[in-house]
Subunit: 305 residues, 2 copies
DNA sequence: ATGATACATGACCCCACAGTCATGTTCCGC
DNA sequence: GCGGAACATGACTGTGGGGTCATGTATCAT
């Protein structure tokens, strides 16, 4: 039935793998990352696939080129196959199964990384791959099967995705004892009084803080602008800055550091967020061990949230 | 991610297509159908795949060799990919999509064939392939994705399959006017009186009839043993035999033949059967046009049942 | 306009692999 | 235990295609 199809000139597993790479990277250039040979190869291989199928796989209207819907469709089908094949091979050589987990950098570092570490230690037989993507790309990647499970905000999950019950966590202030000795509830006034390390740009929480300060006629005393929560945590570690971090940061970033106090926020400053583990049903159907991994992750993360 | 996997020596689309063929045919021998070259090729290609995956794909305990569970798993994954690729290619060249329909020979000839004919005439753009398999093989083939939809007995569907509401039909007696001029309800006594063309072997309905006759102290007058319902219908057409056929046979086998009467059976002889269209959810998800085809088939067949 | 970025193309090598043919081996049924 | 069915294997060939290099050509940002 498929003998003829498989035998078409210009159709091969390598070309399909190339298509998958371009699909994940987003463009030929991203996928070839500086290697001119690879760029050349990818360009031609995708052109050859297009000749086979008689349909454009790359949208050539604007550069860098993105995949067309047909390109994504083919890439997804190929990836599904490769994943089954990869699983089978790993199972046969009794090696670890590969699980790809997506989330923002902060969540990876402070929740997923320790959780996966713990799982590997207790169960073994799993290799985790972390993908740090923004939330819209995470959703796409989940739907395309590029990642197996993601830890994302509750409000970001689309109806087509399965997900766990939500965990809610609050932002908390982390203040070095060198700056303030009392561990009482943080008041709005301290936004102007303490030297804050904050995230650069216009994140939701940053805007929220500035609004609260303005309402009180004061100004957020942002003396250090960081580009990630990890940097904020590092700043706090120095003892010279106070910072706002998710409350679960205390487990990961300040474990055993008694020079930093975690202080709850006063009512008006509370800022809660909800997280869920989300995945595509079809991924679990094709690779049933994912179900166990997701459940184990859920339990692990639940201990910290 | 999959570049390395795709590049493994011994891994290729042709080999996977070969594996699919063997999966559908059941064994290497069946798949190569007398061609010694093909036999040689299939044997080696599967061995090469086994080397790649480090797992037995053929169960070599008894001949002819069947696929192992791992072999079926790989074949199924490959077939799913090939089907998406095939669809994409056909869509691109604006050609008909391929739909594989399975059922017993009788149902194909008297229900599916005419139904598909009608669909093709009105809608076009679909190529039907009929597979005549026994019911257990039909279920397997559905689950493996080898066939897209099957018309089977209601009681044969497994929970993993989606299916339509059941249609119920009765067996009816078809009697040439040359043998009996009255079109009244058929009585048990006539089992001994009329010259019956019946299915050979020990089919459920055949056994049922013989039991009923024995209860009445008579014997089923089986003067012609046929190996298919079609042969029974042909026998009835000659005017020299009476036969039991599904009541929908009147549309297909005896259209415009006024020399044959359809006679209902007396209460004790009634023998009803239920049919459903069954398919695998995953197939519809991967190839969404199947949904439309199945619905159209359902409507068509519903007109006759 | 003008680099710079991003992709295409042509020419080349070399090897892996599909396919063929002949023959060997294993296993099943009787 | 024997014949045949079912699969394996070894040897060979031609070619497609992966990979590399050098260079060409669009498109984008400024």
């Amino acid at each position: 039935m498929f003998r003829q199809l498989a035998h078409l000139s210009g159709f091969s597993l390598e070309r399909l793998a190339s298509l998958c790479e371009v699909a994940e990277a987003g463009s030929i250039g991203q996928a070839s990352r500086g290697d001119a040979n690879r760029q050349s190869l990818l360009s031609r291989q995708i052109a050859e696939l297009e000749a086979v199928f008689g349909v454009a796989l790359l949208a050539r209207q604007s550069r860098p080129f993105r995949l067309t819907p047909e390109g994504r469709e083919l890439a997804q089908a190929a990836r599904q196959f490769f994943q089954v094949a990869d699983d089978l091979q790993r199972r046969a050589e009794n090696a670890a199964q590969r699980v790809v987990i997506g989330a923002g950098e902060t969540l990876i570092q402070w929740l997923l990384f320790p959780a996966c570490e713990a799982l590997q230690r207790q169960a073994g037989k799993v290799v985790f791959t972390f993908k740090n993507l923004d939330s819209s790309r995470l959703i796409e990647a989940l739907q395309q099967g590029e990642i197996d499970v993601a830890l994302i905000r509750r409000e970001d999950v689309t109806p087509s995705l399965a997900h766990t019950e939500a965990w809610t966590y609050a932002q908390a202030a982390f203040v070095p004892k060198a700056l303030c000795r009392s561990a009482t509830v943080l008041k709005v006034e301290e936004l102007a009084a303490l030297p804050w390390a904050v995230l650069e740009g216009r994140g939701h929480f940053r805007q929220f803080l500035e609004t609260k300060a303005r309402e009180r006629g004061i100004k957020l005393n942002a003396v250090l602008e960081c580009s990630s929560y990890t940097q904020v945590a590092m700043a706090v570690q120095t003892g010279r800055y106070a910072g706002f971090l998710p409350e679960f940061a205390k487990n990961a970033a300040f474990a055993g550091n008694s020079a930093v106090m975690q202080r709850p926020l006063e009512k008006g400053l509370r800022y809660d967020r909800s997280l869920v583990l989300a995945w595509r049903e079809a991924s679990v159907r094709n690779r049933s061990f994912l179900e166990k991994v997701i459940e184990a992750l859920r339990v692990r993360i639940g201990k910290w949230l």
